[in-house]
């Protein structure tokens, strides 16, 4: 009735009835673009206040509580502040790259939203290699960080960017192998096929221990890929002041900040899609009564519920674990996570071939 896919279908029908197909397509693209930008702004506001509230809760403080009811409008006020601040470009910086870098970060984050299924039949682009597309585009994000770090012409920025480059390039491997485990089980790279395969149970529960290992490795790897604590060496405050965005101020800093939070949302959405069934309600085998009750909850609520649960887990990491050293970080990836995930992929392949999963 009021599901997202029905609204989209109604808009599509109305546009096609009133305009030529070409114009309808163009208007739909504009609507999709506006919706993506709106989602960006909303995510930025929600995730920042969520992080501050979660950290306050973990550290037994109150957190922001002045602006609006229980401080819920704090991030709106912060945005206003960032908007009116002066955007400085340091004298020794490379002007072009310095100003382009935040936009590259934003564009990459926006491109990553394309193949994500937000609800049943509600997806911008269901391409047949969706999972590969995600890993390809997310590997571009490191270029914006390297650009920002180098163009700032500042030792701290450059060191932060270098660390971030080493970190993202190495953790991409185990994230990719963890994703491959699900691809092997499903036999498809298309996001909608992967979700459909989880109709009778999510992969986390259907795939035995190897999938649980893959899930844990995926969460660790994406935490590192999004440069979040305990892997936030790229902006380790105590050593590098603020890492690659030391020289940024005003709205350009806000764009990096926003891109970081949107990236967290995206990796959590991908994790929820691959391991927790995306918008698929929680089903148990042949329990029809139970499955029927679960189907009452709208698919978008399921998707956002799972995604925000994973975001909460990643925030929980940040406020619980101390930061790693750079050598510990690289050792963790190359000596532990990568061999484990390679062996794990073999196990998953065996399970998929023998049909041992439920």
């Amino acid at each position: 009735m009021w599901s997202l896919s029905n609204i989209a279908a109604n808009i599509d029908q109305w546009l096609n009835a009133n305009m030529s197909p070409t114009w309808a397509l163009i208007v739909e693209m504009v609507i999709a673009g506006v919706a993506v930008i709106g989602l960006f702004a909303a995510l930025g506001l929600v995730l920042v206040i969520m992080e501050r509230k979660v950290s306050a809760w973990i550290q037994i403080r109150l957190g922001p509580n002045r602006v609006g009811p229980k401080g819920m409008l704090q991030s709106l006020a912060d945005t206003l502040k960032l908007l009116v601040k002066e955007g400085m470009t340091p004298g020794g910086a490379d002007k072009l790259l310095f100003n382009v870098a935040p936009f590259v970060a934003m564009i990459v984050a926006m491109l990553l939203l394309a193949p994500i299924a937000f609800a049943k039949d509600f997806q911008l682009w269901d391409l047949n290699i969706g999972v590969l597309y995600i890993s390809a585009v997310s590997s571009i994000s490191v270029i914006s960080i390297l650009m920002a770090g180098w163009a700032s012409n500042n030792k701290y920025s450059l060191l932060g960017a270098m660390r971030s480059g080493a970190q993202i390039v190495s953790y991409e491997l185990s994230a990719g192998l963890a994703v491959l485990a699900i691809v092997v089980l499903t036999g498809s790279l298309r996001i909608s096929d992967i979700i459909q395969a989880q109709e009778n149970g999510w992969w986390l529960f259907k795939g035995h221990i190897p999938v649980i290992i893959a899930f844990i490795i995926f969460i660790i790897a994406v935490t590192a890929e999004t440069n979040r604590a305990p892997f936030d060496l790229a902006e380790a405050e105590s050593e590098l002041t603020a890492g690659f965005h030391t020289e940024y101020s005003g709205m350009k800093f806000a764009l990096f900040f926003l891109a970081e939070y949107v990236n967290v949302f995206i990796v959590c959405a991908i994790g929820a899609t691959l391991f927790l069934g995306g918008w698929m309600p929680f089903h148990i085998g042949n329990w029809h009564a139970f499955n029927g009750v679960m189907d009452w909850i709208p698919s978008s609520v399921w998707f956002f519920g799972k995604t925000f649960f994973l975001i909460f887990v990643i925030m929980w990491f940040r406020w619980t674990f101390p930061r790693l050293r750079i050598d510990q970080l690289l050792n963790l990836e190359w000596k532990y996570l990568l061999p484990i995930s390679m062996f794990n992929l073999l196990l998953v392949t065996l399970i998929a071939i023998m049909g041992w999963h439920f």
Partner: protein, 167 residues
């Protein structure tokens, strides 16, 4: 003009312009960034040829991994326009000769294009999809595929040996 033709010309101009800028940029960091633009344009061409898998792999391997390592090394060594070593005259002449020879090979290869255009090979809409590619790789070309994997393995072993030498 059809939309694919417009896209083809746009991507071609972008690729050639990016390649020229890459060669003529004084600053090595700009060269690498222009090369990334070229790789994106070429990936666009792959998509126009319905080879989506190849396009995505091109971005993952070249733009995502190799170019990042290039950027990494160039930024870490802090190469820029001032510190770039000036090559001597003979090296420049040798470069021009080598480039012209490569151009000659390309022109020779393109000479047949008129005849090839008359009989286009059609393999249906599924040519570039991952399923077709996997089947072809593991049936018709399984030996070259396996041999190339041995090549990668030896490269990895070589890297480890070089890295261990210092200890």
């Amino acid at each position: 003009m059809e939309i694919t033709q417009i896209l083809f010309w746009f991507l071609s101009v972008l690729a050639v312009f990016g390649a020229l800028m890459m060669v003529t940029s004084k600053n090595p960091v700009y060269s690498v960034l222009w090369l990334i633009v070229v790789f994106f344009a070429i990936s666009g061409h792959y998509i126009l040829l319905n080879a989506q898998f190849l396009a995505i792999v091109n971005i993952i391997v070249y733009a995502g991994a190799i170019m990042v390592l290039f950027l990494f090394v160039i930024m870490l060594m802090n190469l820029n326009a001032e510190t770039e070593p000036q090559k001597n005259k003979w090296l420049k002449i040798a470069g021009v000769v080598a480039g012209c020879s490569l151009m000659l090979v390309f022109v020779a290869a393109l000479r047949q294009s008129d005849e090839l255009l008359k009989a286009p090979v059609s393999m249906g809409g599924e040519t570039g999809l991952i399923k077709t590619l996997g089947k072809t790789l593991f049936t018709d070309y399984v030996l070259p595929f396996e041999i190339s994997s041995v090549l990668f393995l030896s490269a990895m072993v070589g890297a480890v040996v070089i890295g261990k030498k210092g200890d």
